[in-house]
């Protein structure tokens, strides 16, 4: 048991750091996610793709980097410390592992390169109005007619579907048996006739999620991943992967650094807010919780590297990770005092927009509002506790 890096890891860290510093697009330094165009989202990904670093989590044979657990840890740390735009999860973290684990050769050959290169933007068609945390309750129907599925239904909370080229989608191909049976995993071209994407504006004023309506959408049968009616296994596999990436430790560290900078700049009765006992205490509590989470994640990664897959323990990472992210945004909002209340337009900001108060206060409340989603999405934190109760504690 040892916390120090080996010399080769230190060398790797230096390499990674220089690469990011030298290659990260200047115009994307410190930019808010809400302001990104489709091209912005992909710019850094495409640079990494050229370097061969787009998918560190994948096996080398499919385009992964072959890095050790420690190297991946270093990569995340350095990326977060610099403040790169987080990679889009849909292709790399979600669909990729599904394809190389469950897809056939043909699917591997056409899906994985598009993900790696960033040429194909994927979105996730999981949730439905009647099936949120209870994913198995989904109703979107796919009926096989000849060599095509005809899909009808209604997906919701589809993140960034407005930019997507393709959607991986859970559909119901049979209503027999338990709700988990009869679900299939389909890849759907978003340009197919019958697909309508409708924005959902969230309480922070942003447009990140959408409803997707599917009306008689014809999907080639070869776009089925795995067996028909056996998609539940894939769905669960994907959700497990989703959980383990969600702790966001390195980015939360960066966010706490930013919070500390803000609290150093904000004054309370003429003294830095950071010197207030109450505020300092709350930052310390956050940092300690985050350190604990960091080591919990490292312990999880260490056992994963010994061949144990991400177990139900990884629900801890989801719960604690999102709680910490929410507390950081909450405390950041608190730090800026009265200047938390000005509203920053997320859409149509216009040319004559003038920011109010100090720059660091801009949009902090909206970031807090937006982050309330994190304990809801990706399997609500209540569902994660159910998982631990059942799978870990045997209750």
């Amino acid at each position: 048991m040892d916390i120090d890096f080996e010399p080769e890891d230190k060398a790797f860290r230096d390499d990674v750091r220089s690469f990011i510093e030298e290659n990260y697009p200047q115009h994307l330094v410190g930019v808010d996610r809400g302001e990104l165009s489709k091209e912005d989202f992909l710019a850094w990904h495409k640079i990494l793709a050229k370097k061969g670093w787009a998918a560190p989590s994948w096996p080398e044979e499919f385009g992964g980097t072959g890095w050790t657990v420690t190297q991946k840890y270093i990569w995340n740390e350095e990326s977060a410390a610099f403040g790169t735009i987080p990679p889009l999860p849909f292709g790399i973290a979600m669909l990729g592992p599904v394809i190389y684990n469950f897809g056939n050769q043909e699917q591997k050959d056409w899906v994985l390169p598009g993900i790696l290169s960033g040429d194909t933007w994927w979105c996730q068609g999981y949730s439905e109005p009647g099936a949120g945390s209870d994913l198995a309750g989904l109703k979107t129907k796919a009926e096989l007619e000849g060599d095509e599925y005809v899909v009808n239904g209604h997906k919701i909370w589809t993140t960034l579907a407005q930019h997507a080229d393709w959607m991986f989608c859970l559909v119901r191909t049979s209503s027999d048996g338990k709700p988990q049976e009869g679900i299939s995993f389909l890849l759907i071209d978003m340009n197919t006739p019958g697909i309508e994407v409708k924005p959902i504006i969230t309480i922070d004023g942003g447009h990140e999620v959408n409803e997707v309506f599917l009306t008689d959408v014809r999907v080639p049968a070869k776009n089925l991943v795995g067996e028909q009616d056996k998609g539940w296994t894939i769905a669960k596999f994907l959700l497990g992967n989703e959980r383990s990436g969600i702790a966001g430790v390195a980015r939360s560290k960066k966010a706490i650094d930013r919070l500390r900078d803000i609290a150093r700049g904000e004054l309370e009765d003429g003294a830095p807010l950071l010197d207030s006992a109450d505020f300092a205490r709350k930052i310390s509590e956050l940092e300690i919780d985050l350190t604990a989470l960091e080591y919990t994640e490292l312990r999880t990664l260490a056992s994963e590297s010994k061949g144990q897959g991400p177990g139900p323990e990884s629900s801890i990472l989801k719960i604690k990770g999102t709680e910490i992210q929410q507390r950081i945004t909450e405390l950041t909002m608190e730090a800026v005092g009265n200047y938390a209340s000005p509203w920053v337009p997320q859409l149509d900001r216009g040319d004559n927009y003038l920011s109010i108060g100090p720059d660091h206060a801009e949009g902090v409340s909206q970031s807090y509002f937006n982050n309330r989603k994190t304990s809801i999405y990706g399997g609500s934190n209540e569902i994660q506790r159910n998982i631990i109760a059942k799978m870990v504690l045997g209750l």
Binding site: I203, L267, P342, S375
Partner: protein, 375 residues
């Protein structure tokens, strides 16, 4: 000791409640919020007709002689409707200062316009550096003949975009955070040297950054005695706290009702999600936070007219309670509504956002915990 409402108070509540139900449903409210001006002058005129704008003023001034309990009743019902029209800044804050401390001449000059609904007022007391300390004032008031010349910047002045008149705190003497030396001045927003930068706030209201550049006011602009402004301001802010506490329990009540209702109907895993014990207990905690908030709201509004020390302690304590409870109830209402709670189209998120702003308004939990300990 008596915890019941008078018949008149109950009638008042029913009247406001009906008005809000009939004229201020969520769609109407969102139309108003998204309108160019961001408030409805028509609604404001109707408030005047209903006598709401006259409620806390003395009969001799044309008012209805109401006290903090009447204001509490009105604010709670306005809170239920998420009403953005500026009852708090115009009637409670500025109207309150005028009615308690203005000269007869000042009252005669200004109260009719308030009671009649012609004038919206805003209280410009915070500054970019002041955070929650109302004594932290850099804006200066230099004696100039009989009057004063004002210079400085006021921050996040609620309702200022709609206002024709402002009450501005400015330093007549002393150093930046001295208790003594402040004055409260009546300033016409149209006066030469007053400029504003207007913007919407996250709770659907509007506010301004107000800049005063060599603004000349007469002796009749000063409310009360020169240098005594902080006492007047502290008192006004405590009345403001009594009012936002009431507004907040209106929000919490609506959020709790909506959440219980949603959980009874929304199904997951084949059963209403309200059948899950964890969510049940969460809603019980929301209910308890609400009940404790109601208690503290009654408490503070009964104590506003007691001694200064009692008033301060009561206001600080109530604001801490409302800050914590509002945060918990708002967050959990969103959480229990799931994705729906995150959308602009449901009222839940809007109650949540207004409660979030109330937590900061007039000072947040940390600020009032310290104030409570010191009181």
């Amino acid at each position: 000791m008596d915890f019941s409402f008078t018949e008149e108070q109950t009638l008042l509540r029913n009247m406001v409640q009906s008005f809000v139900q009939d004229n201020y449903d969520f769609d109407s409210r969102m139309k108003i919020v998204r309108s160019e001006e961001g408030m409805s002058r028509e609604i404001w005129g109707q408030f005047a007709e209903l006598g709401l704008l006259a409620a806390p003023f003395s009969e001799e001034m044309g008012g209805l002689d109401g006290g903090p309990i009447e204001t509490m009743v009105i604010m709670e019902e306005l809170g239920r409707g998420l009403v953005v029209e500026p009852y708090l800044p115009t009637i409670v804050l500025c109207g309150g200062i005028l009615s308690r401390h203005a000269s007869d001449a000042q009252k005669e000059a200004h109260l009719p316009g308030i009671i009649g609904g012609e004038d919206v007022w805003a209280l410009a007391y915070a500054e970019p550096q002041s955070r929650f300390n109302p004594a932290d004032v850099l804006t200066s008031a230099k004696a100039d003949g009989d009057g004063y010349v004002l210079n400085g910047t006021k921050a996040v002045v609620a309702a200022a975009p709609w206002a024709s008149k402002l009450i501005v705190s400015a330093r007549i003497s002393g150093d930046q955070r001295d208790s003594d030396g402040l004055g409260l001045f009546i300033v016409e927003k149209s006066a030469s040297g007053v400029s504003t930068q207007d913007y919407p706030t996250v709770d659907g209201n509007r506010a301004s950054e107000v800049t005063l550049e060599n603004v000349t006011v007469g002796a009749d602009a000063l409310i009360g005695d020169a240098g005594n402004g902080l006492a007047l301001l502290d008192e006004a802010l405590d009345y403001g706290i009594g009012a936002v506490c009431a507004e907040a329990i209106g929000h919490m009540k609506c959020l709790n009702d909506a959440t219980v209702e949603y959980c009874k109907t929304r199904k997951q895993f084949g059963v209403p999600i309200g059948s899950f014990q964890v969510l049940q207990h969460r809603m019980v905690d929301m209910f308890m936070e609400y009940e404790q908030s109601v208690s503290m709201t009654y408490m503070v509004n009964m104590k506003l007219t007691e001694s200064e020390a009692e008033r301060k302690k009561a206001a600080a304590g109530a604001k801490v309670q409302i800050g914590k409870s509002g945060r918990f109830v708002g967050q959990e209402a969103v959480q229990l509504h799931g994705g729906m709670g995150m959308t602009e189209e449901l009222n839940v998120g809007h109650y949540f956002k207004r409660l979030t702003v109330i937590d900061t308004q007039f000072g947040n939990v940390d600020h009032h915990l310290k104030r409570f300990a010191a009181a």
